[in-house]
């Protein structure tokens, strides 16, 4: 393999427990988002647009759908003769193999993969976040500051700062302290979980971290604090733009709703920064004469006969006549029956909502989730599935 300046390692092993039934048979990065995408499409498209052509995707939980989806990386331009995409599950070695114990351990176990490209820098990203970012600019910042590690940081609203890993930096963006989910935050720069390491430095710390039996082998909890203690050069790369961790039902729903503003904070239509994905290849959507579609996004292959407002409709959905869909997310190939009503509902792919069933209530703020391939003939049975 030819030499590469920077290799990306994409952590896609997240179990996504907080997404409940949506991740029952699915790794979190493979969860559907935004009408035709899966969450991982955003980071992979970022790599494609940032000129990164060697990407290791670290998988662990429920990898079947994800592996099939990634294939050889063609949709993201990552089917390369030299470099390209490699899916890296935990594997058995001569002395037995182990599960990835943590984010740092996942990289440690694949140091051989990185060394094959002999890179100067390694980009660590995660497949759980929705954002558009040019990693090349971040690399330029990393080189300019002469950093050993650069961490992308986002200014979050103060009241939300206690939900994130918070960084303190001086006027030159040099990191002076980390705080993991502080109760009383004294900074509002959150770590986005995006790191560029100079490879020799990272290698050293990975080996040291692995030798430490008390370590949880995690970038945020172990590697970065250890580097800070040693006084390494650590810098923040300030990012301005849309970024969302879609790790919970609420945040997944919110991020979908964010797309529906007339001027959405995340622009999917930018021809210079297309989000690539495996295209379903379905005919143009058919909006029936009696249908109404307002403030929504709808994808190919849908047959819409009902009334849709502020909702995200994935491909192949059939919304039958007199159905009402409000502030909801309907994933691929779901069927919404005649006269069915959905309010603030996330419907998993292939689910069927029987005629006349109402889910949620127009005045209710909680979100209801229907799992993949479920058949809902009665709202009460649903409440047992997912109390919300």
């Amino acid at each position: 393999m030819g030499r590469k300046e920077m290799v990306a390692m994409l952590l896609a092993g997240g179990e996504g427990k907080r997404l409940g039934v949506l991740t029952k048979d699915l790794a979190k990065p493979a969860v559907y988002f935004g009408g035709k995408y899966r969450i991982i499409d955003f980071t992979l498209s970022n790599c494609a647009h940032s000129g990164i052509d060697t990407v290791g995707v670290l998988t662990q939980y429920q990898p079947l759908v994800l592996n099939r989806y990634l294939g050889i990386g063609s949709p993201w331009g990552l089917d390369r003769r030299d470099g390209g995409m490699a899916v890296l599950p935990p594997f058995v070695k001569q002395k037995g193999g182990v599960w990835y114990k943590g984010t740092a351990n996942a990289i440690y176990q694949n140091m051989g993969f990185i060394d094959r490209s002999d890179p100067d820098y390694v980009l660590i990203i995660s497949g759980d976040h929705i954002y558009k970012m040019d990693y090349e600019k971040m690399l330029a910042h990393h080189k300019k500051t002469g950093a050993d590690v650069t961490v992308a940081g986002l200014e979050v609203p103060w009241k939300e700062a206690s939900r994130f890993g918070i960084m303190h930096a001086d006027d030159e963006d040099r990191i002076t302290a980390f705080e993991e989910k502080p109760k009383v935050p004294t900074s509002n720069t959150a770590s986005m979980g995006i790191y560029i390491f100079s490879w020799p430095v990272l290698q050293r710390y990975l080996i040291r971290d692995e030798a430490n039996r008390h370590s949880s082998n995690d970038f945020g909890k172990d590697i970065l604090p250890a580097m800070l203690r040693d006084g390494m050069n650590m810098f923040v790369y300030p990012f301005r733009g849309y970024w969302k961790d879609v790790g919970t039902i609420e945040s997944l729903w919110e991020a979908n709703m964010d797309l529906l503003d007339d001027r959405p904070p995340l622009d999917l239509t930018d021809p210079e920064w297309r989000i690539y994905s495996v295209s379903p290849n379905r005919p143009a959507q058919y909006i029936a004469p009696q249908a109404s579609v307002v403030s929504s996004i709808v994808t190919e292959g849908c047959l819409i006969e009902g009334d849709i407002n502020r909702s995200v409709i994935f491909y192949g959905v059939h919304a039958a006549r007199d159905s009402v869909i409000r502030e909801s997310v309907v994933m691929p190939n779901a069927k919404i029956g005649v006269g069915a009503r959905l309010y603030r509902t996330i419907v998993g792919d292939g689910a069927v909502i029987a005629d006349g069933v109402t889910i949620g209530h127009p005045d209710q703020s909680s979100i209801t989730v229907v799992g993949s391939d479920e058949f809902i003939s009665n709202y009460k049975t649903l409440l047992e599935v997912e109390p919300s």
Binding site: G34, G35, K36, P75, D262, L268, T269, R274, I275, Y276, S277, S279, N281, R282, P283, A284, Q285, Y286, I287, A288, P289, Q290, A291, S292, V293, V294, S295, S296, I297, V298, T299, E300, L303, E305, V312, I313
Partner: protein
């Protein structure tokens, strides 16, 4: 089917009265139904029927064809043993380009002799239908036919030019005439023909030696009394998209949900070159009814009984009725569009009022600014 049948999509002298829609492209790549090109239908039919070796006999204006088909991977025709073969004319000599398809097939006889399949399905690109060809091959073998013609009984005449076919009670073709013929028959040829590969090669050589030029019109139609030609009846939707009128009519037919469900899904899905367009966006003032909308569209105005291709922008207050707007069209604020066909990249300024009539839609060529 894989090693038994090969497909040929014959674009040589394809009937073409599509006016400016084909000024820069061949009929095979005329956009259709919101996101397809005409050739996608026959190509997908073949692939869905298990045919994995398809040759496209390109003729003229095939730049857009090459771009559209690429390696054939969007139709799963990109594999080691077989796949997609685009065979343009072997010479750019004007005299030779004018010659009929028999001549071109003869020129490419090596392609046929190098293939191993026993049967050939020959078709055209301007036929919109969704058909499983496996039963046609079974029928052909059962009848022990020399040639099988796939026909459709069409009691209400459909727009476009079609050949008429007459069958006897045993299902044998006893008459076939071009669209201008006087044959009184409600059976139309779908321009899908099945024969053995070696039979085709023999027919091509014999007919050429006798001074004939065209496979169907000459070689087959003049030998109906000598050959066992049988008609297979196809019952699904059939569109012959070779005139502007039939182009408009067939696009509008896709706005019937029963037709939409059949033509694009049954018995197989129609494939096309994929683009990474985002989902269609409907903004607050959008009002859409009875329309086909492709990905990448942004609708702020009103769209009624129309087909919008990928990436069309309908600005606030704009009204589109009974129209076809191809890729990346822009309809400016408060403009009205009625009975119009806009080719790709047409921009309508704000406040314009553009109306064609039911029988003769307004037509705007590629990249026109109005």
């Amino acid at each position: 089917m894989k090693n038994k049948v090969m497909g040929v999509i014959n674009l040589i002298h394809e009937p073409d009265e599509l006016e400016i829609l084909t000024s820069g492209r061949c009929p095979a790549t005329v956009p259709f139904g919101g996101r397809y090109r005409l050739i996608d239908f026959m190509l997908s039919n073949m692939v869905n029927s298990g045919i994995s070796r398809v040759a496209v006999f390109a003729h003229t204006k095939y730049r857009s064809l090459m771009d559209h088909l690429g390696s054939g991977k969007h139709w799963d025709l990109h594999n080691r043993q077989s796949g997609l073969f685009i065979l343009p004319p072997s010479s750019d000599d004007q005299q030779e380009l004018r010659r009929g398809d028999l001549y071109h097939m003869f020129q490419n006889r090596d392609y046929f002799t190098r293939s191993q399949q026993e049967f050939v399905v020959i078709s055209r690109s301007h036929v919109v239908c969704n058909i499983d060809l496996a039963p046609v091959i079974d029928f052909h073998e059962r009848q022990d036919a020399d040639i099988t013609v796939v026909c459709k009984r069409q009691t209400d005449p459909i727009p476009g030019k079609s050949r008429k076919v007459e069958l006897n009670s045993a299902g044998r073709v006893i008459g076939m005439q071009d669209h201008y013929g006087r044959l009184d028959s409600d059976l139309l040829s779908t321009e899908i023909y099945v024969m053995r590969r070696d039979f085709l090669m023999e027919l091509v050589e014999t007919s050429l030696a006798q001074g004939q030029e065209h496979l169907i019109r000459h070689a087959i139609m003049s030998r109906l009394d000598r050959l066992n030609v049988y008609g297979y009846l196809f019952e699904g939707y059939l569109g012959m998209v070779n005139t502007l009128e039939s182009y408009y009519w067939n696009n509008m037919q896709m706005l019937r949900s029963d037709v939409w469900k059949e033509v694009f899904f049954r018995p197989g899905s129609i494939f096309t070159k994929v683009k990474d367009e985002p989902p269609a966006r409907y903004l607050e003032g959008a009002k859409v009814s009875g329309s086909l909308i492709a990905n990448g569209c942004v609708v702020e105005g009103m769209v009624i009984n129309s087909v919008l291709f990928r990436g069309v922008k309908v600005r606030k207050g704009a009204i589109i009725r009974n129209s076809i707007v191809m890729q990346n069209g822009v309809i400016g604020e408060n403009s009205v569009l009625d009975y119009a066909i806009l080719d790709k990249d047409v921009v309508i300024d704000q406040g314009r009022d553009i109306r064609g009539a039911a029988g003769s839609p307004f037509l705007a060529g590629k990249r026109k600014v109005i």
